[in-house]
Symmetry: C2
Amino acid sequence: MIVGIIGGGQLARMLALAGRPLGIECIFIDPGVDVSAAGTGRHWRGEYDDQALLRRMVASADVATYEFENVPPVTIEYLAQHMTVFPGALALSCARDRLHEKSLFDRLGIPTVAYRAVGSRADLTEAVAALGLPAVLKTRRFGYDGKGQMVLRDKADLDAAWEKLSGPDLILESFVDFGRELSVIAVRGRTGDTRFYPLSENVHDRGVLASSRGRPGDPRTAQAYAYMEVLLRELDYVGVLALELFEVGDRLLANEMAPRVHNSGHWTIEGSETSQFENHLRAIVGWPLGETVSVGHTVMFNCVGHLPDPAAVLKVPGAHWHDYRKAVRPGRKVAHITARAADASGLEAATAALKAFLPGHILG
Amino acid sequence: MIVGIIGGGQLARMLALAGRPLGIECIFIDPGVDVSAAGTGRHWRGEYDDQALLRRMVASADVATYEFENVPPVTIEYLAQHMTVFPGALALSCARDRLHEKSLFDRLGIPTVAYRAVGSRADLTEAVAALGLPAVLKTRRFGYDGKGQMVLRDKADLDAAWEKLSGPDLILESFVDFGRELSVIAVRGRTGDTRFYPLSENVHDRGVLASSRGRPGDPRTAQAYAYMEVLLRELDYVGVLALELFEVGDRLLANEMAPRVHNSGHWTIEGSETSQFENHLRAIVGWPLGETVSVGHTVMFNCVGHLPDPAAVLKVPGAHWHDYRKAVRPGRKVAHITARAADASGLEAATAALKAFLPGHILG
């Protein structure tokens, strides 16, 4: 079984590694020279919309998927015309545009932050008048890891923000004074069979995910699953879907969704009976889904812009090292560490020991 | 970090897959055209004693290891002169010759079956007179999976057995009427740090391992660990070592050892905090060893000579599929299935469900 993946980063790498024991091999299309996924499958170097490579993909792979939502629409259109592609075009078009995404949440009755589309400087003034300040001005597309957004605290911030982000495709969102950041990850198979992972409790540091902790039995679980279920059904979704949520009091507000395996689910490699990576593959190739029950207590820490010494990290009992084989650059995710323990106190001990390797890290 | 492996079979494959998240990449020397490990690392095609490839290995890899004990001695000698090789030459020379192995057990006070070296037809008659019948005539070297051995039940069997196996390097062993077959797997690091896995309870079918079940807390644990500890210290061992044992009443008899990762430890991929594959790599590259505590209840089934449909296997809750990417041939190990469950009753249910995919399998 051959799976074609648009993108060759660490998500593609972990998909390919999950595929190997299953007898699934992956092909990556990525313009990078020495991408993270290289060595875990076949890397075909070229632009994401390279017609010749896409034709080869159609000829070589049984099913196609992607590791990021900003795949050129022409790529997905071409692939979908000639082969099976999951997740489908509807999920992708909603997820890659914050306005479409929020409209979808509204339409499905999933609470989300207040927002206004901003297409001009005048729109921005109106939107601020309607939503009040503070608020967050974001590009509708291509934003990730805190990029493509600015917090507006004062009317004096508007001109600078407009100048920096200006363009016809912006969105203003109310600033949410949330308690916790949570995400729910689920997988849906071709037959509609659906499995939910325990919620992840996430901590961000300057817009980048710092840590995720699996939270089986979290009091927000039922609410989060209900929103996720509506989304999966509406999108006739196949594969892993992630939904990021803000907890405000005892309510949840949907922030954004990702139609792919997600950083806040990396702990499932050790912490779940079946990882998100394996379940994504099983879903898209049409195999039965694996159980998502927790295996021990787990927390994941991203290594952002620095690569600790693995020999030091691995001294910590229960620590698992995941090196993405990427050159270290400021702000770049180059590895993650998952700690697993049989009980909560064991996990606390591991977390305390790992702090030494996570300079400046906000530990949840 | 680059690890060179002599052999490119499924053990090399699983070592390489364990290495990827750690940032360890593997190179395999193997004469096969499309070996099991291909695609999980770099396959250099050639004989195990190909001088040019061995020179490349010395130049390219940080440390060397092997996935089978019948590595040509000249290969290990060459590598050991020019680079770090673990496990060391002493372990290898004992493990690849049943007579050396049994002498080592004797010397260390590890009970083993009664045996006699057999170098001639006359020796065989004498050995049978000394040990009685039934007994097992084996080649001292190159035996595996029940190959290179014959059970002698009657004096009339001697001529046929001698004709079939004849050569100067045979050994006659008393036939052991054992209760259970167990194995103990341990790992020792460069600094002497040692970790033991829970015992494996093994079932063989016509000489080939059929199933292994992790048995934490088995009543034979302390005895097995004591024998293993003596061996590891004597051999100044680095890496994973497996020792197969017969349980006779409340005693253990050492059968044979393997200076490598072992089929009876495949369940550790899901069933232990750190798999035997990861710990072998961590040991030989000089990193701290990982915990060997059990994660749930696990049993592994070999798929020998037939490849079940993965989509059917994966319907079983807790089943994990490991495809070696090998052509199916009678008697050939082509995949394994591990079932993991939170408790013993869950494991029984999974075992019962898996029976459908294991034709003729003896389920322990």
